[in-house]
Symmetry: C2
Subunit: 312 residues, 2 copies
DNA sequence: TTGTGTGATAGTCATTTTTAATCAATTTAG
DNA sequence: CTAAATTGATTAAAAATGACTATCACACAA
């Protein structure tokens, strides 16, 4: 049994197709077939049910794949140990970022990070929290930036900053006259929300629920981006909540519609998250350093009330 | 990088000698040298410091060995999954037993187990708790029978039975007249103990300490076996404590010297212990079944007071 | 039927792994 | 101090392994 064989098994299990898996492994299909057959022979058990189309894992196959993923990931750690020893910070690094953080945070730290660590090939993807979590567990993502706490024992979190919620209230709104907003003022019914799947949406709903036990889950208007929310709000369709960093780059006129919360303002915790196996910790720590350094200047809130990002 | 290479590294790390390691791996010494060199080249780092005699691990080498042990052990688990699927209970199984349990328990279950599971090649070794724990962690022992709780997060425990302590008191002893003994009657000073390293010794000391804060650690007489303790006690050199199962095969005359404790009697918890990675669980469970079945008839105590086997 | 997509098989070749034999450097014993 | 023994590295030849190309066999769809 070799690590390569296990790696091939993982590829086939993932793509449910020998040919595609072979491409991903940069070998030809017969090579893959042979190696997997050899492993099956050695263990004297079928890992794949080739009669099904597309190909399926057998029951044992599933268990073997789980264990194989373990072994392959643990094997990467050897290189990791060596890198750590050499103080080498480089290689490919796949980072996920949730949509409501991506456009504001990424431009703030990306240049600095690339300049400081030119040997790291960052591959950044915009993904929802749910996608991020499953990809981290599968090893397809090295780390991610998301709202926390996630309450998942396989995922570790390192808080980067606390980002308060800011009310965006158009002129005709019943709350427009108030200088500051209390969380008790919020009514989910006249609140514009992001589409399902965004954890910021869930955060807002949780915030409204704190003082109302029951919330109708029929919302009139939902949008895929915060920019659209602002425009809809400008049209008088309701108020909305924005993450603080988003309020920094809206235009002067719209800034008048911003209403801050009473102390302590509700906020989301934004963290760098990664698999509990702590692979590529050097890069993760480098990222944390750079982001923490950048954000320190932009966000200075201390006393905040953290709102859970999880749908409940 | 291959699992074989990692296995070779482990062998050399363990034997501190290429030639011996090669023998254990059933390959020639050049094979081993080459493979390890290749791994070192690939990682571009020295794992062994060959200038030292005997050969030593470098600092990174130590980390790599730890991780390599992980990977190699995890790789065994694949075969384990297959065995489990096939319902196969067999193969080599290394079991450790502490000296104070070995002579009484082993004869009780060994025959039954071999008969029930003829494909398991049991290799049984008498070892102290300390030796057992380190060997389980290194993967040189699949399981062991010892007094628990051990409070070690790498080791899991499955209690088999609770074995009360019984006083063995010779005729001239101050406590001989008492029908039952209370733990408060015990005085460490007139107690015969096993040599250092036996956890039963530590259990007895802990028991005596429960009512006396301070105990002199100068004991006059110590012995390596419980049989010797009984003989020394017969000579009037003091009383001693025996594990219950030991009292079953002493002669009639000596049985008169046995004095049982008041309810609840102090007892030791005897468990099947194994590494948290749960390798070879089928065999471990088979062992547990057999032993539990046998012991159920011999030990019927319920309300006992468990004494820690750890030196404190 | 004829493609199309899929995985298995056969034959070949380069590479890798292993081995036996040998060497060089140390350490140990007399 | 010299001789013998031990230890790991080196070399060259053999065995094995892994991967490739080409091709086959089967299932399914147009």
């Amino acid at each position: 049994m070799t690590i390569t064989q296990l790696y091939y098994v993982l590829a086939v299990a993932e793509h449910q197709n020998f040919t595609k898996a072979a491409e991903k492994c940069f070998v030809t299909q017969p090579t893959l077939s042979m190696q997997i057959q050899k492993l099956e022979d050695e263990l004297d058990i079928q890992i794949f049910d080739r009669s099904k189309k597309p190909i399926e894992l057998t029951e044992v196959g599933k268990k073997i794949v789980t264990q194989a993923r373990n072994i392959v990931n643990e094997s990467y750690r050897i290189q990791d140990i060596v890198d750590q020893q050499k103080g080498f910070i480089g290689g490919e690094f796949k980072l996920g970022i949730i949509p409501t953080i991506m456009p504001t945070l990424l431009p703030m730290f990306l240049k600095t990070f690339i300049k400081k660590h030119p040997k790291v090939k960052l591959k950044i993807e915009e993904l929802t929290t749910e996608e991020i979590m499953s990809r981290i567990k599968e090893g397809h993502l090295d780390a991610a930036i998301a709202a926390t706490p996630l309450e998942d024992e396989n995922i570790k979190e390192r808080p980067l900053y606390y980002e308060p919620f800011v009310s965006y209230i158009p002129k005709n709104h019943r709350l427009y006259g108030q200088k500051t907003i209390a969380t008790t003022d919020l009514e989910i019914d006249d609140m514009l929300l992001l589409e399902d799947g965004h954890c910021f949406r869930d955060g807002v709903i949780n915030l409204c629920k704190i003082f109302k036990n029951h919330v109708d889950d029929k919302f009139q208007l939902e949008s895929g981006s915060i920019e659209t929310l602002i425009k809809l709000s400008n049209e008088g369709l309701g108020m909305t909540l924005l993450p603080y960093l988003h309020t920094l780059d809206i235009n002067e006129k719209e800034k008048n519609n911003l209403h801050y919360f009473n102390e302590p303002p509700p906020a989301r915790e934004v963290s760098l998250i990664y698999h509990k196996s702590e692979l590529k910790m050097q890069i993760i720590e480098a990222l944390q350093d750079v982001i923490a350094g950048i954000v320190r200047g932009a966000i200075a809130f201390q006393d905040v009330k953290i709102i859970s990002p999880l749908p409940k």
